[in-house]
Subunit: 196 residues, 2 copies
């Protein structure tokens, strides 16, 4: 069975490949195709964006497609950056600038008020029209400085609940075992396994 990952984000591809390593499942990415549809993120929610991306790739290639849309929701910022996380500091989607903006906005906010959560929505679109959507979250708090160099996105400034380090200091296995995306991908894995 073939599955196309509807993302060009190398960090997401790495985590997805690790979680979807199933016998009988061939995981394809944009690198396996000569052309690739434009994936719009015009939805107002993570769910809408994940479904748009999965259905666009499913419709384009006629294959099972899996897409992710994720966001960081900071309580002190009323849930921002949320669905706009990847372009928080501008349309170029620069992770460093995004973290700069976030840390600046939280400047002076004391530790107990820096609570936040990562939210991930995984959508799987099947050629027959069926759709699976899973949302999972990872609670934590925003650090005052970057720590660690693994992961991607906001990982260096996010401390998962129960840890005293950033998400970017965890190994891929550790991150997948507790992260929003890891949890959502586990449900996807179970459903794909049942289809093999």
């Amino acid at each position: 069975m073939e599955l196309v990952l509807a993302t060009k984000n190398p960090g997401k591809i790495r985590e997805m490949r690790k979680m979807l390593d199933l016998p009988g499942l061939t995981v394809l990415t944009h690198r396996d195709f000569d052309e690739w549809p434009e994936l719009e993120e015009t939805g107002e929610t993570l769910e809408e964006n994940a479904v748009i991306k999965a259905e666009t790739v499913r419709d384009h290639f006629g294959l099972i497609a899996l897409a992710d849309d994720s966001g960081l929701l900071v309580d002190a910022l009323d849930g921002r950056p949320g669905v706009h996380s990847s372009r928080y500091a501008g349309p170029q989607g620069d992770a460093e600038l995004n973290m700069d903006r976030l840390l600046a906005e939280l400047d002076g906010v004391p530790s107990p008020e820096r609570s936040a959560r990562f939210s991930c929505v995984i959508a799987i679109a099947l050629p027959a029209g069926e759709l699976q959507v899973t949302r999972a979250e990872c609670e934590g708090s925003i650090l005052t400085v970057r720590e660690g160099s693994r992961g991607f996105g906001y990982d260096p400034v996010f401390c998962p609940k129960g840890f005293d380090c950033s998400m970017a200091e965890l190994s891929l296995e550790e991150k997948n075992s507790i992260s929003h995306r890891g949890k959502a991908l586990r449900a996807a894995r179970i459903l794909l396994e049942s289809m093999l």
Copy 2:
């Protein structure tokens, strides 16, 4: 593990109980509680309504909740009655009046143009905040008169593709094996099984 069905529809409860008969899973309904939250269907899509209902019941009781929102999409009516299927002939939600309206609107429409599909969205909301949403469809066509007395809703006027009878002439097992709700519940069953 306990799961609450976020519906008062006896037909849906019957189909859900059948599909979710898992060792270790206790399926609860509104009859198991002294009070019950008001379940609004204010969403603009089946997905939104299913999620609203599942999250309302989850938040109210602090238990895993499963909700369904389903609709009949008729091509000759540009996808109507769709998300308004259960109240097509008025807020009282009378299935007989709904079918009367549908048959009247399709009066004179020839057989090849009576194609339609049932769509079902199942949402499972977990106390920790995770959410599973599954959409599945069942293709078919609208008959010119009612046939059969099983099932519920529009079943007597819907002929599933590949059959020459109505959905209301199928046994519960046959219906669940091909129906939109049966397909969506199978994915729910697989995910719940993995949590037991």
